[in-house]
């Protein structure tokens, strides 16, 4: 077997490692893969165009931007901060832990649309998580602010990934079922969903523990940044 079609994988790995623009890297890898598999340039461009058009559905979420932007202009993020400041017990870690639990439970009931980065994380969860840290620690260094935002996105991902497979009608369960059927094995969707539960519990325990440890880690990071910025001032 020829290894030539792996050229595209190589381009992706090298391109990402060299931090070349990912969109450029991926487009180049796609064209190179097609050519390496001995397809003519015109048919490669055609397949490439067709695949791009066929996957337009992943972009539909951007339709939320006009209303999200409008609400941000009218103070949505500021309001989200005010709400969090009224909850005395709220810390960044606990807030994200609550969101992780909520996201995992709703996804396991098939309600995967109750979340997402554009609809929930940017306008609501990330500002709330930042505000909780601000109340606890005062003005935050940029670095800490960015780390909290990344954690807000991660909580959404972990919650939906390890929740949705407990729901029997989700795409991955249907894919497993139909793949096994083609191989002559008949399985029940409910059995597959039940065997997603141990992993779901592990995911909640592992990521939840990390979120509870996050508050202390943020405190250390903020102290370190402040000590660093204080030192030159003291010297002078």
């Amino acid at each position: 077997m020829s290894y030539l079609p792996l050229l595209g994988v190589l381009i992706v790995v090298v391109g990402f490692a060299l931090r070349i623009n990912p969109l450029l890297v991926v487009a180049a890898a796609a064209i190179a893969t097609g050519l390496a598999a001995h397809h003519a340039l015109v048919s490669v461009i055609s397949s490439f165009g067709k695949a791009f058009i066929d996957s337009r559905s992943v972009a539909v979420i951007w339709l939320a931007l006009p209303v999200i932007g409008l609400l941000e202009r009218s103070g949505l993020k500021e309001r989200a901060r005010t709400v969090i400041s009224k909850i005395k017990m709220a810390t960044t870690g606990r807030l994200l832990l609550a969101y992780l639990a909520l996201r995992q439970i709703t996804a396991s009931l098939g309600l995967t649309s109750l979340g997402g980065h554009a609809q929930m994380v940017r306008p609501l969860i990330a500002p709330m998580a930042e505000a909780a840290a601000e109340i606890q620690f005062g003005e935050l260094p940029e670095k800490t602010r960015h780390r909290i935002r990344a954690h807000a996105a991660a909580a959404d991902n972990v919650g939906v990934f390890y929740g949705e497979d407990i729901f029997i009608a989700i795409g991955s369960i249907l894919l497993i079922k139909s793949f096994l059927e083609q191989s002559g094995v008949i399985v029940e969707a409910t059995q597959l969903a039940v065997w997603a539960i141990p992993t779901a519990i592990c995911a909640f325990v592992i990521h939840g523990t990390r979120l509870l440890l996050l508050d202390r880690s943020l405190a250390r990071e903020i102290d370190a940044v402040r000590a660093e910025s204080d030192t030159p001032a003291d010297a002078a």
């Binding site: 991926v26 539909v60 209303v67 409008l70 309001r79």
Partner: protein, 317 residues
């Protein structure tokens, strides 16, 4: 019947709006570059379904060239000052959450009800697209609620969309580009080659080696493809079914269910899963595009260990 095409027309109109706002913005040095990029993207939504595949391919290559040569510009500063936003937040209070929460609420409602609606005996929406169509309708409903409530200047929604879209920039297109790469991988038979390499180079003579090769292979292959769905058929046909199940007598349900979940560890750790990892980094305006991945790596690795243990201890019951 309302189809996905309706949602794509909305997308196309929005992209042209964003391009127009860019072109009219004299304060932006990159107004022509950004305008051209979003206008080309708009064409793929408005008429992409009717254009020949080759023309669509050229449009996509055109977008990549505009980006690579012209370099896209960043977002404009926010239209409202912090003081204005705080005053508005104090004025509207929790009512501001209503349009935001209308998006998930209406999506959910649509997903549950639209399937059963019929018009002259034909279903109003195609069942397979019901979630996406509901999401499209929900954004329209939320926007109408927001505009009626807040009474902003007429152009505010589209100028705000432009601000956010230019913040996300090229990352908005990356998930689609990766889907196209996945198709090219499939066309070139990349999957079977990778599975062949794994089988040839890894000693698969103990039950643990087989289970670990399957789970780690799922995670690795998912990192390459960006998608556990693409890795699952290849890895399961190559290792899961023949070795875990047939040779060592493992249970097919545990193998398949935990195998798929092992792939998700790969999804957490790869830039190839752009819509989960790169897009939120752009959307949250993080300077490091891999910031979300870095946060997720410990969880991904620990869960891979957990899944390998779950499969090893449960699959051979």
């Amino acid at each position: 019947m309302i189809g996905l095409e309706f949602v794509y027309v909305l997308m196309g109109v929005m992209m042209f709006g964003i391009a127009a706002v860019n072109l009219r913005d004299r304060s932006s040095r990159k107004r022509y570059v950004n305008g051209a990029f979003w206008a080309l993207y708009g064409v793929t939504f408005l008429v992409g379904s009717r254009l020949p595949d080759f023309v669509n391919g050229l449009l996509v290559i055109g977008m990549v060239l505009v980006m690579a040569i012209g370099k896209l510009g960043g977002p404009p500063p926010e239209a409202a000052s912090r003081a204005e936003r705080e005053a508005s937040a104090a004025r509207w209070g929790n009512r501001l959450f209503v349009p935001a929460l209308a998006i998930p609420a209406v999506t959910l409602l649509g997903t549950m009800t639209l399937k059963s609606l019929h018009f002259h005996g034909t279903p109003l929406v195609a069942a397979k697209d019901v979630t996406l169509i509901s999401l499209g309708l929900a954004t329209v409903v939320a926007l109408i609620v927001g505009v009626v409530m807040l009474r902003p200047p007429l152009a505010a929604p589209i100028t705000e969309a432009r601000r956010l879209m230019d913040a996300v920039s090229w990352a908005a297109v990356l998930p689609q580009m990766l889907a196209a790469l996945g198709t090219m991988f499939a066309l070139a038979g990349v999957g079977p080659i990778v599975a062949g390499v794994l089988e040839r180079w890894i000693p698969l003579d103990t039950a643990f080696a087989v289970v670990a090769t399957y789970t780690v292979g799922m995670a690795l292959f998912t990192s390459v493809m960006g998608n556990a769905f693409a890795a699952f058929p290849v890895m399961t046909a190559g290792i899961g079914l023949p070795l875990v199940v047939h040779k060592f007598g493992g249970d097919v349900v545990v193998m398949a269910a935990v195998g798929m979940l092992s792939g998700y560890s790969g999804t957490l750790m790869t830039p190839m899963a752009a819509n989960f990892n790169i897009v939120p980094a752009a959307l949250l305006e993080l300077p490091d595009e891999n910031a979300v991945i870095k946060v997720q790596v410990p969880t991904g690795l620990l869960l891979l260990v957990a899944n390998t243990a779950i499969m090893y201890f449960c699959v051979f019951r």
